[in-house]
Amino acid sequence: METIFLIFILFLGGAIVTWMAGKLGNIVQDILFLATILVPSYLFYTNVATGYAIDFNVGGIELSWGINAFGWLFSLIVLGLGAFAAFYAVSFMKGKERRGAFYLNFILSIMAMLGILMSQDLISFFIFWEIMTWSSYIMVVYNGNDVQRIGIKYFVFSAIGAYAMLMAIVLIKSMTGSFMIESLISSYTSFSYDMQILIPVLLLTGFGVKAAIMPLHVWAPGAYSNAPMAYTSIFSGSLSKMGIYGMVIVFTTMLSYVPEGVWFRGVVAWLGGFTAVFGTLWAIKQDDAKKLLAYSSVAQLGYIIVGVAIGTPLAMMAGLFLAVMHAIFKGTLFMVVGAIERQTGTSNFTEVTGLIRKMPWTFVAALMSIIALAGIPPLGGFVGKWMLYESLITSDHYLLVIVIFFSSTAAFLYCYKFLFGFFLGQEEEEWAHVKEAPALMVVPMVILAGLTFLLGTYPGIILKPIANGMQTLGYGMTQGQLWDTSIILNEWGNQVVLQPILYAILGIFVFFVIFVTIKGYKNTRYVTTKDISSSGEVPLAHENLTFSQGFFQPFLRAVEPAMRRQIDKYYTAIANGLESLFDFTRRIYTGNGQTYAIFVIVFVVILLIFKNSIFG
């Protein structure tokens, strides 16, 4: 049998077996779950090389699966993060109900994402896309919080996206006679002008929903924050990247053949920029860590979209690198929130404070990820940010770079809020009992956080697959011109050499840490956070010194005009309006049999009156 079928059968069969295995005991279920994630992943990386392809036929439709270097790059995000999240999930789900359903949908999501990357035809692409949608939907409503609003919103937007895509697919089929992506790309230039515009618009809508681009992003904050955190880490980390994957293909193939592509690029890039800004502003406002990270994800996806939409080699590379980085650090951060929520029972900054000494490893993971998120050197986020700015500057997007810069500077605010809210500040009695999360949760987080460190200095590790993937998309050789193992360059030849910088930073840091420690960190005495200089008085135990309410009030006041209008409200208004309208129109079924009989007669009479225009 073809290995690829084996992989998918293992995924599917494993998912169902894991789902059913609840009665065999939790351990068995956990092992089955991990095996179902790991074994096919192993098979994939050992047996399926890039360039692999297989054609077959279902229901009279030619299908084709295969993988190229670009898909392979994304498979790293999907399977790599998936494996870490799986280990985390095993521990996260301990003692929770509906574990079977969780595992089932987790595996199905991973399978669907791999399937999307493997699909060389639009039908399998769409099938896997939809499997991904509904399996993630079940995860979104999994906790049962506010599902009719958040869940339905997610599904409706997914459906809008998916159906836009489906419309494009059937139009493509009727024009090219085939569902193959190749034939779409090769015959795109021969489409009529209308179709050349319509098809990318529809496809980009479809991908834009998953990539949470404004104005299709309104589902994201609710959905990300409502799913179990173990799942959200791949939801935000890899699932959203599928939208990016699709966008990249649209931009680099179809839209690069027609002059209108420039407009598409501009519009999408600006939408991405606005997504970044407003995502950031709303993230600053949130008091719930999940919501904060959710909005932050939206904002980060905005950067990625800007990168891939601009599409110069450096910008594309920046977008893809940020995509990988975002998968890593946002995956970690959602895990961190999950760990905190598991240990304390809440994820609200206004309730939890001062966990740094209770959950030190979690803090380390959070700190590294946050630094990466903020784009501070020497961690990985900086490399992506740097490439993005440089690419925008060198490709003459001056205003966009300001917008992006504003967004990422403002991102420091919520980064600090996240760290301060959970880990720093007053250590309250209420949380004195909190323990570090189990090892199975901590280890994936710390390893992932370590990856951001590694990639910050040696981005070449991941830039190599990115460059390979970009060559598949028609970009030229970039190694040596735009990047090397530890160097990043812009298109004007300016460079940042990362390795000496890392050594310098570490050297200075260690030097001063030691310097300040001359009389010894050990010699000083740890005092509680209550013991602070408060006009020379030590505050009493019940005095509230926790600063958690109204973080960044002044800033929010300053940007208040920009946040006054919420796009979400407009959608809600439209939805409510439609429901009222439907409530009104359904009154046509009056309940009176006689009325129905009159409808029949009227129907006949109308047909008789207009018979000539109808049947003429």
Binding site: R586, R587, Y589, N592, A597, I601
Partner: protein, 124 residues
């Protein structure tokens, strides 16, 4: 003269049938009592049956029976098929009316009224 008379009579038959149908429709659509609606429906049926028989009728024709003397000339027989249809339709109409009346009884027991506007528990 006689032809014209027959023609008028022909149309008269059709017209009468249509009139009966319309009366039935009036009953079914305008009257608010369930019983009257049922009656209206069965009047519609009658009108249609009348119409069916009328189109099968051959002026001066005989019964469609292969009896001695007529065997060689089916042309002058009345078309038998509409009559067969009408027979079937009458039977069916009877069945439907029976079911309808049974339902009316049920409805009256349930709602205590025969006014159709009152019987609107199922709507929208």
């Amino acid at each position: 003269m006689e032809d014209t008379l027959f023609k008028i009579l022909d149309y008269g038959v059709y017209g009468t049938a249509v009139l009966v149908i319309l009366i039935g429709l009036y009953g079914a659509l305008v009257k608010r009592s369930l019983l009257k609606i049922v009656i209206g429906l069965s009047i519609i049926d009658s009108g249609i049956n009348l119409l069916l028989v009328a189109i099968g009728y051959l002026k001066g024709g005989t019964a469609p029976i292969f009896s001695p003397g007529y065997l060689d000339n089916p042309k002058i027989m009345v078309d038998p098929i509409p009559q067969a249809l009408v027979l079937t339709a009458i039977v069916i109409g009877f069945g439907v009316t029976a079911v309808a009346l049974a339902l009316v009884i049920r409805l009256y027991r349930h709602h205590g009224t025969l006014h159709i506007d009152e019987i609107r528990n199922l709507k929208w």
